[in-house]
Point group: C2
Chain length 204, copies 2
DNA sequence: CCTACCGATCGGTAGG
DNA sequence: CCTACCGATCGGTAGG
């Protein structure tokens, strides 16, 4: 976006405060104090408190969409798309942890048209995931027993929960986290002992 | 708990409002209006706004713990425990959707000791899940490549996200949702074509 | 359960 | 970017 450096700083600081205390629990004066100025002075840079929230949410939404879109419309093999999408999502969350937390937690504070706009962004994002899953099913590289809606939900659940537990000082890099999650999701938590035996027998 | 019917009604109504608008965005007068009385009248039943939040959160925490504990300490086979735990969790969420939403979203509004107490409940709950996963790994019924911490995280992500999309008027019953999730998580989203071939060959 | 009221704080504006 | 200020609303209390 084309903000002044000061406005960027305000938005970034607000994302930190909103992510920790929540939008409603953070006052305009809290935000101002963090920036070493008076509450009233903020209003030469912003038009209102919700305006700040909107900028955080919109930028986060653009990041998520901008990360997945090129993957979804590319001609990678479906399984590669899935891996790339998880990696992209994990990178956005880990690279913008405050904004991502606000994105998942605080959008309900939006009113009216902006709320609709935000939900449209989220639906568009989920649609890309759904597309990738359906391609994988059509290509026969995803479990044919998986309902597309449910499989998408499972993927989104896993990646969307990341902001709850990710810590930058943890032992795994974002890409390692993505890799492990994808592998676990694709291979499954089970050992498939019964299925495998049955299949081996039937093949033999 | 041993509340008066009126207090139960207050807590239930508060859970509905808190889950929709958030704790900080819901005023004591909003809550009173919903109960057809004046804001000040609430204070003969409650000792403060945070008190109401605490009751919602504590009851939700007790429900989650009360559901998983008997499963975790039972002598069911590990895979059955996992299925039962998912089913129990889904039942708690779907049967108390407002409280569950508050449980996941609004606990940050708690201050001091109650916040610590709440986090202790959540850690205890996650520990039960971890135990079940580790039993499954030890018994050889879970994918030996799965890191216990990661596998637990994946399970919790899937079940914890449920409150975000579950609607009581949806097509699937809670137990059907649990069943599909467990199957998908255990079998995995992939087809395992490569692995299966490799194993078949090595067995043969 | 009510009326009446409290001080504190809210988001935001005026004017410089 | 500041001081000074606004009306509205906040959670909560007193007293009945």
């Amino acid at each position: 976006m084309t903000h002044s450096p000061r406005k960027d700083q305000i938005i970034k600081t607000a994302a930190r405060l909103f992510s920790r205390q929540g939008y409603h629990a953070t006052s305009v004066r809290d935000l101002a104090r963090e920036l070493d100025l008076k509450g009233a002075s903020l209003y030469s840079h912003i038009s209102g408190k919700e305006d700040v929230l909107w900028h955080i949410l919109e930028e986060a939404a653009q990041q998520f969409l901008g990360a997945i879109e090129p993957i979804a419309i590319s001609d990678m093999p479906p399984l590669e798309k899935l891996r790339a999408a998880v990696r992209a999502h994990v990178r956005v969350v880990t690279g913008n942890l405050d904004a991502a937390t606000v994105y998942f937690h605080e959008w309900k504070a939006l009113q009216g048209e902006r709320r609709e706009q935000f939900l449209a962004y989220r639906r568009a994002y989920e649609r890309y995931w759904r597309q990738i899953v359906e391609e994988g099913l059509a290509a026969g590289v995803l479990n044919p027993k998986a309902d597309p809606k449910f499989a998408t939900l499972l993927l989104l659940s896993a990646v969307n929960w990341l902001y709850q537990w990710y810590r930058p000082d943890g032992p795994l890099s974002p890409d390692e986290i993505a890799e492990r999650f994808t592998t676990l999701l694709l291979e499954g938590l089970g050992t498939h002992a019964e299925e495998r035996t049955a299949e081996t027998v039937s093949i033999a």
